[in-house]
Amino acid sequence: MDEMERGETKMTRKAYYARKIKRAAQLLFYKRHMKPGVKGWELKNALGSDYPKILKVLDDHLEKLDLQVKTVFEGEEPTGKPTLEELNKARFFITLRGGLPSKDAKMMGWRIDDIAGLATAISYIISKKGKAPRDEVEDLLRTKLPGWRVDINMRRYIRYGYLAEDENEQLYLDWRTRAEVDQKALVDLLLGTES
């Protein structure tokens, strides 16, 4: 009887998590606000306070599809294990797990010039400790891209959330770069290329 009860509890828990994972997938995949992704407190309201565990299970499922659950914290990334409060304020996304062949980027509406410009801007800002004057970034882009394309692309990068500009015309990396780009890997790859 005990085994049966244990069996039933196991099934119930499995069904519980299955339901929660489906709900989490819906919340994370489908666009609800101006920005993609979902805030931690929204997940907490929908899934309960054990949502981090549910997201971990979902992440394991997504690995087979080369997708992952990505967390972008408000402010600085916590050094150790994040607290529930930090997670509640963070934003959660579904991103690709592995890289993307550059020819596939075209399907997403990105020309090679656009990606190269974005890579340059992000790398330059990283090299300047996270903040660089806009005109310096634009001058650097203009060495390889036409001026009119630089103007269009800068506006695009800012609109999409890759870069942000403050009142002093200083550019810094915005939420989408933090969510999508492995900055350390980018710097290592750049430095690893032959001059």
């Binding site: 550059s102 190269a116 999508e180």
Partner: protein, 270 residues
């Protein structure tokens, strides 16, 4: 401290503030600012400040210096992270690589966000319900144009009643008023201002005072002032004196307040 010395010290503080601002706004190296020296300077000047402006300047300098120290801390923190790299080396690498190589490198570290948009049956149903309840735009954006009235005829009395036209021209009215003044004055040659202007109602008194001012301005009458007795007389001319318009005129303000009219009325009844 003399005023000159205070002014020099204020200017020095302003330069300190500008230097600290340049670190924050233009990305100048925060370690270019000698924080110890500036703190010593602020410490030295602080006892001399007296006015609110001087103390405010001092507080502003301290605030900007604190932001420079924070920038220095951020620099050290960044340096100690794995993201630190020699900026010149990175810039050189960026310059040397072609667009295609940069794009290829970037796509290796780029994990774009997946997001979907999809319409569902419940949302379609809600949208249809909203559409059915929505009032047509022709009703929502009704343009209430001006009322069209058919042209017709009117009378002079109607125009006078609506105060669009006057029964008499202003000149005619003024001359009639002048005639009334001459009749009231009679052989006395002059009349007290309030005796001529005063009427049974206050609004009528105002109208009469208004017309009297034109009588005097246009040369139909003049004023005679007795400041010691506080009396003002109006003296009508037998003929209108148009040459007065060429002479320098003096304004005489005369108060025709409600209190004064009440006072005049009480005195008259007595």
């Amino acid at each position: 401290m003399s005023t000159k010395e205070k002014k020099l010290n204020s200017e020095r503080l302003q330069r300190v503030i500008e230097l600290c601002k340049s670190v924050e706004e233009r990305g100048v190296d925060p370690f270019a600012v000698d924080v110890d020296d500036i703190i010593a300077t602020l410490h030295k000047f602080f006892p001399e400040w007296e006015s609110t402006e001087e103390l405010t300047l001092d507080a502003e300098a301290v605030q900007y210096l604190a932001s420079v120290i924070q920038n220095q801390g951020d620099w050290v923190k960044h340096r100690s992270t794995s993201l630190y790299t020699d900026p010149f080396l990175l810039e050189e690498k960026i310059q040397r690589l072609c667009k295609e190589e940069l794009a290829t490198l970037f796509t290796k570290v780029w994990n774009p966000i997946i997001e979907l948009e999809q319409i569902s049956i419940p949302s379609l149903s809600e949208a249809l319900k909203y559409w059915n309840e929505l009032i047509p735009i022709s009703e929502r954006w009704q343009n209430f144009g001006p009322m069209q009235v058919e042209a017709g005829a009117t009378t002079l009395e109607e125009l006078v009643r609506l105060k669009i036209m006057a029964e008499r021209t202003f000149r005619e009215e003024l001359e009639a008023f002048w005639k009334e003044l001459k009749q009231k004055v009679g052989e006395n040659e002059k009349i007290l201002y309030w005796d001529f202007v005063g009427a049974d109602t206050y609004s009528e008194t105002i109208d009469r005072a208004y017309l009297t001012s034109f009588l005097i301005t246009y040369g139909y009458a003049t004023l005679e002032l007795h400041p010691l007795e506080e009396e003002i007389f109006i003296k009508p001319f037998t003929e209108m004196k148009s040459e007065l318009a060429d002479k320098m005129m003096v304004s005489v303000p005369i108060s025709v307040s409600h209190e004064e009219w009440m006072r005049w009325k009480e005195e008259k009844q007595r």
